[in-house]
Symmetry: C2
Subunit: 476 residues, 2 copies
């Protein structure tokens, strides 16, 4: 490729072009585009004829007419009969200066709630499953069309949920969602769509679940929570018109307090749902992680036509997958699929195929078992670290899951504990963030610690730091 350095004065403007071999036309085009964009060529300015410019630059006339044609097609230039080629009278706007990209800084010591140990994600096994899945998937699996979710995954989940969580369902009752937040959002919208007004929720729980319900147009009824979970007797027993249309519960492991819903209450809430034709939404966010006994089976099993079961890959695998699943009463499947189609048509086939393979091939069970052992060990280490304060703090929720609630005595106000921790680069969360009731009725002086969050190699240092921070307030 010969290189030509050519300069042309266009409308009094020195236009310097580095014109390289066969790319003469593209370079001219780019140079003109840049000149217009930057304002060096002002709107309305008339360009030289293609003949004149070609002579100026010592290039073929075709290259110039082609470049003009392209820029006319793109709206930079305008050609009017008798008026030649001019710069279009358009608005030049440069984007505002770049905002700095949000920094991804994991805190040095992180006990925030809701994320598993991401360093434990089974990357190699996941990639193996991806290769197997993508090697065998039919071409149609890569297309549109599976709003409800890939059948391969729904079949695998139906078996898994039945086997491990006691859920009574089948692939045709399962809808794959982009995370539990979307799954709940779909249920909220379906409730509203069916004329529902009120969702009962536990008075302590994930705040975004309450927020999204309000944004979906639902009013909230708060249920008290005690050592047996939600006080479902507060749901009332009247007709549906005077009651909540649905209740959102975390029966296996109340979030974040940790109680399992008592057996009488399990039966009572299902009876309530049947009697008032209401819906129980079972948020089974960490049902696989039970340390002290067999898993508490899913409530869904008691009345599959009145319970919408919500499960997620966010705790057992990774939130970044954005995969969750609903096991639905028959009559909810079509409305939910319809609503899902309005949000995103479907979730990623690729991740779904991989997760289906991951479950079907047994890798999911293996990973959950290993994780359970690892988290139980952490739980024990945390308990040992808190032992010196045993007479001053009460630790709740240790039987399961990836987090615990530490109830503090008055001399250790949770805000002060959180603040001191932050000073030392340790993230712990105040319990108050999970309470639906306002400050006056906040009962718990407590913090929540997500002991599943730290990477393995930082865990010991992280809970040592937690012990130091608590020791600052408590007597050892």
């Amino acid at each position: 490729m010969a290189e030509t350095g050519a300069t042309s004065g266009i409308s009094g403007l020195d236009l310097h072009l580095e014109l390289t071999g066969t790319r003469v036309r593209a370079a001219l085009e780019q140079a003109l585009r840049d000149a217009v964009r930057s304002g060096r060529l002002q709107p309305g300015v008339r360009l030289p004829s293609s003949r004149a410019l070609a002579a100026d630059l010592g290039i073929g006339r075709n290259a110039v007419t082609d470049a003009y044609g392209q820029l006319i097609a793109e709206g930079w230039l305008v050609a009017r009969p008798g008026s030649g080629t001019r710069v279009a009278s358009r608005v030049v706007q440069e984007p505002a200066s770049e905002r700095s990209a949000p920094l991804e800084t994991a805190a040095r010591y992180d006990l925030s709630v809701g994320t598993p140990d991401l360093s434990h994600f089974p990357r190699a096994a996941w990639l193996r499953a991806a290769r197997q899945a993508l090697s065998t998937a039919p071409d149609t699996a890569l297309g549109y069309g599976a709003i409800q979710g890939r059948n391969e995954l729904r079949e695998a989940l139906a078996g898994y949920l039945s086997r491990v969580r006691g859920v009574r369902t089948s692939a045709d009752r399962i809808v794959i969602c982009a995370g539990a937040a979307q799954a709940l959002g779909l249920l909220y919208r379906a409730l509203r769509g069916a004329g529902g007004h009120t969702l009962a929720v536990e008075e302590v729980g994930e705040p975004s679940h309450r927020r999204f319900a309000r944004e979906a147009g639902l009013g909230l009824q708060l249920l008290a929570v005690d050592d047996e979970g939600a006080r479902v007797d507060q749901l009332g027993a009247g007709a549906r018109e005077t009651n909540a249309d649905a209740v959102l519960l975390t029966p296996a492991h109340q979030f974040p307090l940790g109680a399992a819903l008592g057996p009488e209450r399990r039966a009572a809430v299902v009876r309530w749902a049947v009697d008032t034709d209401a819906l129980v939404i079972e948020d089974d966010y960490d049902g696989e992680f039970r340390f002290d006994r067999q898993p508490v089976g899913a409530l869904q099993d008691l009345a599959p036509e009145h319970v919408a079961y919500v499960g997620t890959a966010s705790k057992a695998l990774a939130p970044g997958l954005r995969l969750a699943w609903l096991a639905l009463p028959a009559e909810l499947v079509d409305p939910i699929v319809e609503l899902k189609s309005e949000l995103d048509l479907a979730s990623s086939s690729f991740d779904q195929l991989t997760l289906g393979q991951f479950i079907a091939g047994g890798a999911y069970d293996r990973h959950v078992r290993q994780s359970r052992i690892a988290y139980r060990r952490r739980r024990d280490q945390l308990m040992a670290k808190l032992a010196p304060f045993a007479d001053q703090v009460r630790v709740a929720g240790l039987a399961a899951g990836l987090h615990a609630v530490i109830e503090l005595p008055p001399q250790a106000p949770s805000d002060a504990v959180v603040a001191l921790a932050a000073e030392r680069e340790l993230i712990v969360e105040p319990f108050a963030g999970y309470e639906a009731t306002g400050p006056p009725s906040r009962r718990h002086n407590a913090i929540v610690v997500g002991y599943g969050t730290p990477a393995e190699h930082t865990f010991a240092a992280t809970i040592a730091l937690l012990g130091d921070v608590l020791g600052h307030f408590l007597d050892v």
Copy 2:
């Protein structure tokens, strides 16, 4: 493991248990659960004492008390002081009989619109990119937190869009969405949220785009479409109060008619947007596939603060990825990210990391180039097949994209053509499906053929069949 076949009469019920080694307790638990679930043990029935049942079955009493305890925790049984252990008074419901899973039958000869040749998806290259991406991604990439999209992908896209489509943007202006439908849905909701009422759309276009706009609460203004694309002069020039708040256009390749928006119109619509403080939504669904000249650059380039650019991986790669991107005016980034967080918190990190690697490593460009060559060849084959009818049909939209519109003479009514094709297992679509105006004003007796859709080995047979079907109505 010793195997024991044991039988016990519980409450007059013969309960046969296959009790295997250490799994005695689990087997008992499962047998009792099944008995309750199936109704063999009715609500209220009192169970034998643990001592009695243990003796009956010849197993340890602990196994029985543990099993009872578990089933109480799960709500199957209830224990009351003085009343022993009873079956809970709950409602047993079996799921309704399974619906048959929807069959995934690709038609034998498929010219439906909107899907690329999925057999051409670069599976091996994609898996390589996945391995590279997942091997190098930080742990935090697998967690929550990147609602706007993974930075790796947004950086790669900013470069790609600037280089290939002339889009002026940067990573901080890009939002990753779960497909173009979601991207548009977010824009519609942002418009409504800002008090907008009306969206102008091309009078022929993707019907779901109109439907979702109506569902988001927007009224539609229809713009006529001719050989230079949308008649943007119909947008009017009044204040925003009397005009549309936004216009949705397919400037590079009108969908489905195929015209590129004329240069004067490009300038005019941008001027309109600036003058009335309105938004242009640029749906660049197949901008990479231009056969006869350089790509028509993105309109967004003319006024980045007034154009929301929408691109997608669905045509160049696969719809099953559910990945699309918005390049936004600065002031829209935060509202869109906020709305996105309500839908699904974020799109899958895994697919995003892979696509970022796929683009950054040059595999995307290679695949697009190969695809363009393949689709151009198909386009030429289609033209050759239609040549005998050249005086009777007009074929539009052949300069770009993966589909063409065949305008038919009166003796070949589109409905009859579509029906005869269907009889022969060939899918073609009537043009009427894309028209926003009702039947009385439908101008086009035409069909739309997605020549990108068939797998390579079926393409020749597919267009041969199309020729046969047309030949049935037309003179050769």
